[in-house]
Symmetry: C3
Subunit: 101 residues, 3 copies
């Protein structure tokens, strides 16, 4: 199973998270408030963002990534994949069903 | 070394985290406030939760998972395992000792 | 690509995060408020901390880890490495450039 790590502006995060679940690209998305310091075009910025931790499957990750890029207001959004192991079995089954056709 | 990723209701999170440390199933648990959107029995829900990031070892992960499932109020709790690499050596040693017999 | 997971006292977190970006050891650092329960010298503690999720590269991780240990007020800071896969390509390119010489 896969956790996708995405950052988004706070006022767009709920819409993106909900869309991923509505479209069965994620079973669940955890949204976490954060502050982000980064280098962009030579300047250092520090902005409020929301971290989205989207619970999905191997099969769905590529579609989720494509959809995040479509939905996202940034030119270069952060979308990364982390592998999970030894997921609690009933939770894994629920996830498979929640993103199933 | 291993990070276990667990979500819990906000008013149960501290108890679960503290129990894992008291019982030497984790050396440390970081608790993070989050909002979670998910699909459950055909409906989309959006609830406040707390993310628990429990720092443990390969040897302890299965016991930690079993104990989380016992302590947890949900029927189908999220318990996942993420592998770490190149942990700062003194921190790794401390963790080994903190979950040691 | 690599995410470094670091915890820090809340009043030091911004300085550490900004230094890592200024010194091109990370392209971006997400800071998240958390509460941490842990065992230290036989006692259980519960403190406010800040989680730093630093986005860097394979090549930069060891330097980032060394620098975090120098900058950090703790004797035994938490510095861990998580591997990412299938990062959104333009984001990966940006990161490479942001930590480039």
């Amino acid at each position: 199973m896969v956790t996708a790590y995405v950052t988004a502006p706070p006022d767009e995060a709920e819409r993106i998270a909900r869309t991923l679940v509505e479209e069965r690209l994620a079973a669940c998305v955890n949204r976490v408030a954060c502050e982000s310091v980064y280098r962009w075009e030579g300047e250092i910025h520090d902005d409020e963002e929301t971290l989205l931790l989207a619970k999905t499957t191997d099969e769905r990750y590529d579609d989720l990534k494509r959809r995040v890029v479509e939905l996202h207001p940034y030119d270069v959004p952060c979308v990364e994949r982390f592998e999970e192991r030894d997921v609690h079995e009933p939770f894994a089954t629920w996830r498979d069903e929640a993103v199933g056709e």
